[in-house]
């Protein structure tokens, strides 16, 4: 290879890299994730030093898988973590809008987390081709919600708009993959990233001694929970 080839290659790299750098520098800076509490989709102490914001979709299998490492963190640092949930229904999931609206309606009656846990636990049961409306009404009944109010809320466009507003906030943060977590503002995308990075990050913020190094490969996440047979 002669010198002309080397120069030509370098010119392409400099032009392409410089162009990319220019485009990146003109990009609007990402908004910082807001930790403002707007509703009761939060748990943990208000004075906690760690705030985890979870953007997720109830019908997304990866979000379901991320619940195990997330719950482990909450159990390991019970007084130090505050968890805030934000809706991020993905367009590819047919029943996600209804699931999110149902969860928001449960939040209106103070039962968001019960509903949230049930939606993930039984994700396979309600994610099939037929409408999960009856299943959600059953969950609401079993959670002790006022069913008249819940039914009205499911049809309420203002609730739908609130969910869409949360999704828009996520869009501004360039989230389109779920689950995406912000741990004190540090972005962690997916269940594996949460499992591998969050603990060390939290320990560092809290000033705890570092944990033993993580395994070379991420340990397998638990498979999706088997579907519970629908009630007859």
């Amino acid at each position: 290879m002669n010198i002309r080839y080397v120069i030509a290659g370098l010119v392409i790299i400099v032009v392409a890299g410089g162009g990319m750098y220019f485009m990146k520098s003109r990009q609007k800076p990402l908004a910082a994730v807001s930790e403002q509490i707007k509703d009761n989709k939060t748990k943990g102490s208000e004075t906690a030093r760690i705030t985890i914001i979870e953007y997720s979709d109830f019908q997304c299998p990866a979000c379901q898988q991320s619940q195990a490492p997330l719950n482990e963190l909450l159990a390991r640092y019970p007084a130090q973590i505050r968890l805030i949930y934000r809706h991020f229904p993905l367009p590819m999931h047919m029943w996600a809008p209804m699931a999110h609206q149902a969860a928001e309606c449960a939040a209106g009656q103070g039962k968001f987390w019960e509903f949230h846990d049930r939606l993930y636990k039984e994700q396979l049961a309600w994610s099939g081709p037929s409408s999960p409306l009856e299943t959600f009404l059953r969950y609401a009944g079993e959670a002790g919600l006022n069913l008249d109010e819940f039914g009205r809320c499911l049809a309420d466009d203002q609730v739908r708009q609130r969910i869409l507003a949360e999704k828009k906030e996520g869009d501004k943060l360039q989230i389109q993959s779920t689950p995406t977590f912000f741990v004190n503002g540090e972005r962690m995308v997916g269940a594996v990233e949460l499992q591998m990075r969050a603990d060390a990050f939290i320990r560092k913020v809290l000033g705890f001694p570092p944990a033993p190094p993580p395994p070379v490969f991420a340990p397998s996440l638990p498979p999706p929970a088997p579907a519970e047979a629908p009630a007859a």
Partner: protein, 154 residues
């Protein structure tokens, strides 16, 4: 200059491959790096310590080799490199359970936030097409309208 049928296909495959890789690199680089990092980590096939490095470096490689192919710079070598990238993607898809379990999921190939969202099945087909085009270009002798042809002449 009249193009033979082989030259026409050589040119078409060059633009196809170059365009795909420039777009893939560009869309990843315009997003927060954590998005691609999460997508790679989810495959659970690389040692985790490599994931941040791959997430930082790979989009640049896609961008540069994509431009090399568009310009026709070392097209045989570039074709072989892009075909090998594609083989790695196919290996990732088949070794992970994504083909079986994630038919509806975004592969993350054009960034997570990209305007092109392909399912893993669609991207597996695209990777096979890229592999075939890359092998075809790596075996070709002449590349009309390429930087390589110009450098050889001058």
């Amino acid at each position: 200059m009249k193009l033979s049928r082989e030259d026409f296909w050589g040119l078409a495959f060059r633009f196809f491959l170059g365009g795909i890789f420039v777009l893939a690199g560009f869309s990843k680089l315009m997003e927060p790096v954590e998005n691609f990092r999460g997508a790679i980590a989810d495959y659970q096939l690389l040692p985790y310590a490599l994931v941040p490095w791959v997430a930082q470096v790979f989009p640049w490689l896609e961008l540069f080799f994509g431009f090399f192919m568009l310009a026709g710079y070392l097209p045989r070598l570039t074709g072989a490199v892009l075909a090998s990238f594609s083989s790695i993607f196919i290996l990732f898809l088949t070794a992970s359970d994504k083909l079986l379990s994630g038919a509806g999921q975004n592969c993350g190939c054009f960034g997570q936030n990209g305007f092109i969202r392909l399912t893993v099945w669609q991207v597996a087909l695209l990777d096979l097409a890229i592999l075939a085009a890359g092998i075809y270009l790596a075996r070709r002798k002449s590349f009309p309208f390429s930087l390589d042809a110009w450098l050889r002449k001058s």
